[in-house]
Symmetry: C2
Subunit: 254 residues, 2 copies
């Protein structure tokens, strides 16, 4: 029990997404091996902590972890096992959003500032040293000056990552979206007119990216509040991210 | 013409809401007195600058100023005059929003910080010196430590004022709302649960405030994005204010 809570706390401290599983109810036949109250913490990747009491049940729950993290809502699962059954309660343990801002221009700068006000962890990537620097992003947790391709190869994207694609141009946006579209990110938003967005989507579909994956993308980015200035656009993006984070909008698994 | 543009620039610099009127078309009978292209700048209060050429027409346009500022959209007006008519184009000249934050608590602080990021002018009022001070509001344009009643007696509220009511309690919110409900503010938002909001609205209706005026109030305040923390609530409030500012949501004149 203590090990479970230690692991839970550590997951939160390390900003690792996890799912806390707890046995709710067990049919009489299985009471010997599965105990109500037994807990196991599942990480998005890697081995978990704790035991539910039965490897088959643990495996079935493990296969649900990604889905629970994507829905970002607690749920329970009814698992039939031989003659009996067990009900397991699954709760997502989500760190504060990790904002990955691809593009260090005006909008990226304002998004970074606002996101820090909200308490999020912020990483900024740009390939231009005059944009990816500490002067422009004093509060960001990480500023990476590298090509988007190379940076995205190194950055780990998990279900608590929110990706904001606001590079300086169509080609870079396209490239970034192609590299993050298959990730388990909670949110992928891309700036641009409906026309540009449509062009990029058609290009990616022609490359073989499934339509369901493309439908996950929030584009044009941000809530529709008539935003015009970079700061107003940043507010609309943050409002959209908070909505996804808090209301656990269903993300299509693609 | 030059006087008109000087006045226009000055209105913007002084954050005064105004309406720019220009004669578009004139019926043949009136071409002697009313010239297409003639301009006059109307302030929300006080005398205007420029001349349209006929006092009766100028008076009729003056009576439309408040409505144009409330709608925040350009429009034209057809004015019959004797045997003829004149078409006048009216354009609202709106300074950046002036945010009047009533209440210096957690939400007020975050709203102030975000509003400055967006470029708005910010005034904060609280009656407690430990909340209405420069340490908590380093970027605000004005921090007023006074009773809400006395502060609101002195602050001028015009169609570019956005009022955010986030005091520490029900009674102060009630008092503030009662004092601003009849103002020409572009936006009045009040924090609180639906239940609290309903109670306040019923109290004011019982005091004789018309229902149409109460319907103007954005309450519960902020876009519905599931905001929980003060910073998230502040983002939802700013997003709502940007929406009203940019999309000129129709405000009932009450």
């Amino acid at each position: 029990m203590l090990a479970f809570y230690r692991a839970l706390q550590q997951a939160l401290e390390e900003n690792r997404a996890a799912v806390a599983a707890r046995i709710l109810q067990v049919s009489p036949e299985l009471k010997e091996v599965l105990k109500p109250g037994a807990r196991k913490l599942y990480y998005f990747s890697g081995p978990g902590v704790g035991e539910l009491g039965n490897k088959e049940v643990e495996g079935i729950i493990a296969s649900q972890v990604e889905e629970v993290l994507k829905r970002r809502k607690p749920q329970w699962v009814h698992v039939p096992l031989g003659e009996g059954w067990v009900d397991v309660f699954l709760e997502p343990v989500l760190p504060e959003p990790h904002l990955l801002i691809l593009g260090g221009g005006h909008v990226g700068q304002k998004v970074a500032t606002l996101a820090k006000e909200v308490g999020y962890r912020v990483t900024v990537v740009d390939d231009r040293p005059e944009f990816a620097n500490r002067q422009l992003f004093p509060q960001a947790d990480e500023v990476i000056c590298d090509s988007f391709a190379s940076a995205l190869d190194r950055i780990s994207i998990d279900p608590s990552t929110y990706v904001v694609i606001v590079t300086r141009g169509h080609r870079h946006d396209y490239d970034c979206l192609r590299r993050v579209i298959s990730s388990p990110a909670a949110y992928i938003g891309m700036i641009g007119s409906s026309r540009k967005v449509k062009g990029i989507m058609e290009g990616l579909a022609a490359e073989g990216v499934p339509r369901e994956r493309l439908a996950r993308v929030y584009a044009p980015i941000g809530l529709d509040i008539g935003a015009e200035t970079p700061a107003e656009i940043a507010v609309s993006i943050l409002a959209e991210i908070i909505q996804v984070y808090r209301q656990g909008k269903e993300v299509k698994s693609g």
